[in-house]
Amino acid sequence: MAIEPFVKKYLRQRVLPTIWCGGCGLGTAMRVIIQALDDLKIDQDNLVVVSGIGCSSRMAGYLDANTVHTTHGRALPVATGIKLAHPELEVVVIMGDGDGSAIGGNHLIHASRRNINLNVFLLNNGNYGMTSGQVSPMTPHAWYASTCPFGNLEHAFHLCDMVKSAGATYIARTTTFHYMQAVRLAKEALEHKGFSFLEVYFQCPTYFGRFNDMKDAPTMLQWFKKNAVRYNPEKPRELEKGQFYVGKLWEDNTKDEYADLYRKLCKRAKEMMQAAK
């Protein structure tokens, strides 16, 4: 299939094809991000994409921008350095669920708290894909993974709730089934000034699907479709077992963005210095 021109524009074609498995949802997730970047006419020269380690994080290499593929879980503090050194850069952070919620969980808490204008896309396949399907903090309770062959005793994070209590100012969730919604939310996240967090459920048929009786990508997409509940803050409802909200979950435009605050601090500090002289 021919690649559409707007997709081509944001891809480094010389490093394609991707390493991703057939049926993997990461291709869709990448297209969502590209569509959002293109719709917003984001200048590639001014765009920095930072990622950690994992199948999801490999996306940084495919996007034609300034890209930094860091260490496992450390994308956010590297992105923090980039953004504060050069606030005019548009900084997107891509991480997997293990990357962002396990090894990098502490960084996620503190980046949310600071409210730096970073755009996090946390791509959640419910397991560690790259290392072949081990349990992650996002694997549902009693489900299966290669390191919980008798069922997961732990409970999955409510990651969106966690970043909310930590202070993130834009929070949304979507899936690779909800393409149009995903693009809309990705654009909102990019446009939001402050720390934005978009969790994208995507299918990993190779491991998560196989271990949990979902034999292929379409079956997994059906699972997303069946359990996703559109969030309406006016009409909150009890979620049934296995269901999850999709849509914009939270936005707070009252909190100052960190780099703005820092710029003001510099001005104050200089004035105080001069006054002391």
């Binding site: 923090t80 050194a85 808490i109």
Partner: protein, 380 residues
């Protein structure tokens, strides 16, 4: 210095380090508090906002070094400061800085003991860690200041090396050197060389990581129109992952070659009365200061003693030590650990030479009396 344009002030070693960083052009600091490094952060928290720089207290040392790597990739000179427990946490991303060829300066004030150890004691136990702390073969340079003046001078030098070679550089003072108060000459602008990384205006075929003859690659800063890809994976000259055996080999050999190809630039030592020395005191940092006195005292007594102190400890000034070893038969290596530099010295001078360690690991310094006593015993 009659034509000196700078000024001499009484400074704590850590303050001198912070001022050296500003002088060198450091405009980003990311750190996490730990004794005995904290004064560096506190000084920069006040100073950086007034010179258009960024100060960040991060959530831990892993994030601290990650943040300075990010800032450095945008072209801003960046630094962190810590001590043993934090330096251990930084090892993961010290390797990342080496592989991304991100110039960064890491100040590691050496306290005493493994793990949490003796936080207010002084030590020299991180000598080997500064070289081999992160996994696999990687380039890194380490400098060992011995005075408050050198806390300034060698901080500037650390940035110069980091920028020129695009490597992580570790400044390795002992806690006492960080806290000592001495007169420090602060040069005026332009009085001391400040090196900035090379910034090519174009690249052939997008080969951002192609090495020049000196082994250094000069990838562009983020956001300058080139759109480079940085990865901690083994990569080819374009910057993208490779698993092709020859390319993986070329990457690791090439990355590490910058140290060897800059041996002269990276050789920095002080010596006294070595030409006819029968015995040589080899030491670094604060311990070496005591050794200089001892050598002069021994000479007065007619003992042919010499003094040798690397200011750049990694790479070790091997060639010079080997030259001296042609006529010197005994090497005495005093240090505040159980023999880390002695190990390096023995390897360099060969198994037939006598290498004696004088070691102290109780958090205090080696005193002149104790050094003299142990040296007498060793020579008896």
């Amino acid at each position: 210095m009659s034509d000196a344009k700078g000024k001499t002030v009484l400074l704590q070693g850590n303050e001198a380090c912070a001022m050296g960083a500003i002088f060198a052009g450091c405009r980003f600091f990311g750190g996490y508090p730990i004794t005995p490094s904290t004064e560096i952060a506190e000084h920069l928290a006040r100073k950086l906002p007034t010179v258009g720089g960024v100060f960040m207290q991060m959530e831990d040392e892993i994030a601290s070094i990650a943040s300075i790597i990010g800032a450095s990739l945008t072209g801003i000179k960046s630094m962190t400061a810590t001590s043993g427990p934090g330096f251990s946490l930084m090892q993961e991303n010290l390797g990342l800085a080496a592989v991304l060829e991100a110039p960064v300066v890491i100040v590691n004030l050496m306290r005493s003991g493994a793990s949490t150890g003796h936080p207010t004691g002084t030590g020299q136990g991180d000598l080997m860690q500064s070289r081999w702390g992160t996994h696999s073969d990687h380039p890194v340079v380490a400098l060992a200041p011995a005075t408050a003046q050198e806390m300034f001078d060698l901080t500037v030098k650390a940035f110069n090396i980091a920028e020129k070679l695009r490597v992580p550089v570790v400044l390795l003072p002992e806690a006492v050197v960080g806290h000592i108060r001495e007169a420090v000459y602060i040069p005026a602008e332009g009085e001391m060389e400040v090196i900035n990384r090379e910034r090519p205006s174009s690249y052939d075929n997008l080969l951002f990581f192609k090495r020049d003859k000196s082994g250094v690659s000069h990838p562009p800063d983020l956001g300058t129109g080139f759109r480079p890809h940085f990865t901690g994976l083994t990569h080819d000259e374009s910057g993208f992952f490779t698993a092709v055996a020859d390319e993986v080999n070329a990457f690791t050999v090439g990355l590490n070659s910058k140290i060897d190809l800059h041996r002269e630039f990276l050789t920095d030592y002080c010596e006294e009365t070595v030409e006819d020395a029968d015995i040589l005191l080899v030491s670094f940092g604060i311990t070496a200061r005591a050794c200089a006195y001892i050598v002069r005292a021994l000479r007065k007594k007619g003992v042919k003693a010499g003094y040798f102190r690397p200011r750049i400890v990694w790479p070790f000034p091997e060639e010079r030590l080997r030259q001296i070893a042609q006529h010197t038969h005994t090497f005495i290596v005093p240090e505040l650990n159980l023999g880390q530099m002695r190990y390096a010295v023995q390897r360099i001078v060969g198994p037939e030479k006598r290498v004696v360690g004088i070691n102290r690991v109780d958090g205090a310094m080696l005193t002149l009396d104790r050094l003299m006593e142990e040296i007498k015993e060793a020579l008896a």
